[in-house]
Symmetry: C3
Subunit: 536 residues, 3 copies
Amino acid sequence: MSAVNLTAELVRLQTETAKFQHDFTDNVNSFFLCSMALIIFFMQCGFAFLEAGAVRSKNTTNILIKNLLDSLIVIIGYWAVGWAFAYGESANETVGLFVGHSQFFLAGYTDYSKFFFQYVFAATAATIVSGAVAERCEFACYVAYCLIISTIVYPFLAHWGWNEHGWMAQGITSGVINTKYDDFAGSGVIHLCGGAISLLAAWIMGPRIGRFPEDDEDESDEILGHSVPFAALGGFILMFGFLAFNGGSVGSLSNEGDGQIVALAMINTILSGAFAAITYLIVYFYQYGKWTLLLTLNACLSGMVASCAGCNKMETWGSVWVGVGAGLIYLALSRLVRKFKIDDPLDAFAVHAGGGFWGLMSASIIAKGGIVYALFDLITGADNSGDFIKASFAQLGWQMICALAIIVWSLVIMYPVFAVLKKIGKLRVPEEIEINGLDVFKHGELAYPLRAYGHGWHEFENAHGMKSNSTTVYIGKGDKKKVMRIHPEMSIEQMASVYDRSGRLAQPIQHKKSRTLFTTENERKRSQINFDEDRI
Amino acid sequence: MSAVNLTAELVRLQTETAKFQHDFTDNVNSFFLCSMALIIFFMQCGFAFLEAGAVRSKNTTNILIKNLLDSLIVIIGYWAVGWAFAYGESANETVGLFVGHSQFFLAGYTDYSKFFFQYVFAATAATIVSGAVAERCEFACYVAYCLIISTIVYPFLAHWGWNEHGWMAQGITSGVINTKYDDFAGSGVIHLCGGAISLLAAWIMGPRIGRFPEDDEDESDEILGHSVPFAALGGFILMFGFLAFNGGSVGSLSNEGDGQIVALAMINTILSGAFAAITYLIVYFYQYGKWTLLLTLNACLSGMVASCAGCNKMETWGSVWVGVGAGLIYLALSRLVRKFKIDDPLDAFAVHAGGGFWGLMSASIIAKGGIVYALFDLITGADNSGDFIKASFAQLGWQMICALAIIVWSLVIMYPVFAVLKKIGKLRVPEEIEINGLDVFKHGELAYPLRAYGHGWHEFENAHGMKSNSTTVYIGKGDKKKVMRIHPEMSIEQMASVYDRSGRLAQPIQHKKSRTLFTTENERKRSQINFDEDRI
Amino acid sequence: MSAVNLTAELVRLQTETAKFQHDFTDNVNSFFLCSMALIIFFMQCGFAFLEAGAVRSKNTTNILIKNLLDSLIVIIGYWAVGWAFAYGESANETVGLFVGHSQFFLAGYTDYSKFFFQYVFAATAATIVSGAVAERCEFACYVAYCLIISTIVYPFLAHWGWNEHGWMAQGITSGVINTKYDDFAGSGVIHLCGGAISLLAAWIMGPRIGRFPEDDEDESDEILGHSVPFAALGGFILMFGFLAFNGGSVGSLSNEGDGQIVALAMINTILSGAFAAITYLIVYFYQYGKWTLLLTLNACLSGMVASCAGCNKMETWGSVWVGVGAGLIYLALSRLVRKFKIDDPLDAFAVHAGGGFWGLMSASIIAKGGIVYALFDLITGADNSGDFIKASFAQLGWQMICALAIIVWSLVIMYPVFAVLKKIGKLRVPEEIEINGLDVFKHGELAYPLRAYGHGWHEFENAHGMKSNSTTVYIGKGDKKKVMRIHPEMSIEQMASVYDRSGRLAQPIQHKKSRTLFTTENERKRSQINFDEDRI
């Protein structure tokens, strides 16, 4: 080829390659964000079941619909307003330190994958609170706090900490000091925020009736959740989701080594969770002699929350201490809250605020470049170790200031909200409803309607004069003969009929006949008289 | 370098780059499709639990095995025959408009990721129907419709709408009119198809016994599902899956902007679902004063179904109307079906056919390039607005024709199937089995065998003369002393024993002793006599 | 451009392109591994619920915490030691055949995504065993076997089979014979290992009390799991996870065609599972006349286990036979185990060891290049068919030797462990605890505390003199009037009170008042007297 042709060819190749690299990077980044966001979205199901398992059956539908609506209300609020505050632009630089104000309703914005990823984070922040106010929060109150967190509280924090123009993200630069808010996946802006609001809400709302009986020793009055398996299911889903939460926070796959950071973040997350859980489990066993599942699960989650801030640059040994610390902090805070007779049914404060705060701290103490490394340099007499010490402590100080700012902001916005709701009587359901359960009155849907339980094969047996204690029934004749084993156990329906009988002795009220089995008396009779053995 | 060397080097680079781009694009596309298909596959679990929660406990095993087998039967049918009809080639162009007929058993086909992705769609189409025929469908009937949907009904529709040779995909070109069937993720070929078959099946099969009592006012006879949490679990999983369903339908990451379309599709899906749910929730609350979880969930799903057709090119504001429309259509259809005394336990018709039809319409009305945009152009007096109007209405018309074709095809194939099954008595289980539940007779597996419940620590207490109302038991001595708290509550087993007692009053049948606790009387005695405190 | 410039430009482009390709390949590979590993991690939830559904309610918390801790204990053990043994280096070549010994605590290792992926495999190997020892295993024993499997047993096997230096991976080369251990996703090193340990553990531990009553015919004594839906949930999650398990084992997306192998592996997995399930279902129905859900699910899983070894190079028709074989082997082994009165509650041995062994065999019989292909060549008289036959049978032989080695190694390490634990009385819980359930004594957490159930709206009715059989209650007046429908059904709480009454007849023990509804008698009275209609 001639030089001219060569040049043309080379330029063409350059252009093509650049376009491929650009498009493909965009596409893969977007795919990465979307798939991680998907799994984080599924954490809503995790929260729903963790909480459903921890409430009494009479409030199950209530807690489930709240968790379901969380993600739906937040998408509306965050799409309409929240995103604009968090990541919108501001012409005014000073305003820009605190809030953005463009791209309302995503107008003119097309980086959809980033929006989607941020949305699932906002939904997480809002959903944390539902645990703290479980079993007594008014529906109106729930909608209000959900909207305000997703449109104001969290978006502002995200702007401060994660938008490059935010004041926390900008930090302070002076001499060797160059602090920037360091919170990889949201120990602070999500979990500390959600946890702080949880404590506030639980405190203002007051404990559930019967939560703190006068006689402290009387454990028989403890309010228990109705299903350990549901709580465990929620916990498993949350662990699954947390790995995506922290891994996905890398946010792109464009830079050298991004992929390995994703993996490192996931490993640190599971390690932190493991050490937090094992620490708690051992301490608890030492104290009470029981291997507790529910609290170990909470401890594990608090370890994962703590790992959010620094999991991208923590060496794996560091996660041991992040986890151990989170486990102990969770232990201490959950007991403290109980001591103050604040009723936080899911330990949302202890898990998320405790874990979140320790996450922010540990990110500047244990993670690479943190105080531990500075001290090591100092001890080993490395060059510039004095500057390193100064810089790392400054960073820790900045993290503390930011943590404080997050707490104050969350409380300053939410306190009036809850106070007003209390004033107008929309904070908490009336006593009668709380005592008798929210499901029937508020939602009209019992979680487990007794009517839907039980089978009728025993009645069938009786109708055909079969022996009740037989285990095998033959139906049909000859070749068509089939065997049905009936275990001599009782359907809940039968139990209900026992109630009928016993009930009549005490208070002779004639209950309406359940029609689960047969629609009318006639039908019942007909069905049994006409029973045709060959038809089955 | 010399020009010759340069040329050689350049050519080498070109070749290498081209190979990298080709291989890597292939690999990443395949990874994308597989990971989305994986999550869509998990929707089978979502359908299973949505339906399990909505049936009575006596039919739980039945509905679960049907949903489990759905995906297994469909992989066999779709692999053997379905794929060939949908995406196989046809030498004859006219035949090719309607069906393909090569690559049976995937012979000679190697784009496995596309097959895998299409398979999970086929499984979805089949599984929709199981909700409509719940609690009364014969197993043989279920296997038959499952096979026929996955091998004939759905594959033909996929061919028509999604194979480039299909008649719906080809559409009509004439002047400014250039219609093509526009159904991004299957509002029509999957959901409208599944929904239409659901209505047909529910109608032919007739309502469950007791579903429509003579006395309309009598709500106490309503058939309720046995577990709201299971229904909610299913709903959460389906929402999770729907995002992959719609996002994954982009089908590749090779073109500029594909990644952002994935994200846009997901955002539109969740927005549609949110607006459908909130709309329904508010209307329902206005009418009945209750915040219903189960129906809100259905409305949310119907919004997501509606978003399938146009979520890739809908602007986010458009999803508001897709959602509101879907919520109201679901509301109307579910009541209409009820009015006609057709028993569709899961509202499969209202959710999937209603949502699906509105999806097809909205894709040509609200989505970019739709009628709304044409009207806007007309009003603002843009150039060619007349042609735009004409083209967009033609598109709407074509969508309607295709929707009609989908419905007619689905019914024409399935009606004879159900009619024949009815004729030979294999459509519906016999009355006795329906009344007493399918689990025991058909599957021999009770969902919750009473025998498996309860613990024996109360008996333990009695055996050791402990006070029954004590809350603390000390076991062992000295250092080995351990505390066990026993709450004064009742095990279901104890309840069962109550039944025994009460039962004896009414009908003196001696039930067989449950041996959950001890295998034999002797063992029981021995165990309690030999109780060795130091061993625990 | 001049030649010099051109050269410079070309070199720049070459460098840039190479860097992009290198970085991007790394990132995408890591993303691929992490996302697949994430879903495999979620399999822990699947195992947890499969097992929780299969135990009695009194052991539910116990089985859940074991499955939760599995992943947490294994990350610690595998990170500290296991990885070093499996994938660490060894300077000594002979030692290197058997074990590595560097990179303890991941020191100096940075391919985090590979570690993460291998970790979830280790967790799977450990968790398989928990099913076999369910309902009777001591907590100490569980922790011990969990640690030893994740630090010694599995890591050595992974080294042998999957580390290029391992003796199984090196295989034998001699003439036309060139055998290498062929186990794509771990039919052998994971499932056969876990399955073999399961049998050993179940055998040493002995059957659960009451599992094998003297009277064989007496089915009423069978121990049943307490929740079919939970078992099904676990099964669905495991199927979901298995696709990632096998698809993810491709391990990279860097080579031509990798993406399609991922898809092929997934298709083969689901096909194998489907044929195994359908085969089992039909045989079982033919024998017993029931469509069993639980066993069909197990058969499906055993088909998926069998597909692990060869799913990457199996043609789809081959999976038919992998599946059918796995289904039948599962059937045979599960009955054999039962015949020998070994109590393996989850059929962990039959599913994992049976499926795993058949997987190793079928990979060298049915998969591409296997005996079936050699025979086909022989019959069609292709060139070198004799060599092909020789090589393929040698490969089968090597697979058998490796399978044997896996079994022997697993048993040789674990037998002393279990034997010592038995000796010191830490293998199995004391009889009293087993009979009465592990949840209360060991964990202090009942899975379903009765106290948490029931609602109080019926009491409410009575307190207000409403008719108990009314279905509608009006609350408030005028505009504020609200309707509440109360179905005439019974809360479990009411059932409990029945027990109280009936119980008193038989044994006049005064149960402590439950305070679920009202904290004190006073509160109760006050609440009902002061009932303010306008407040609700």
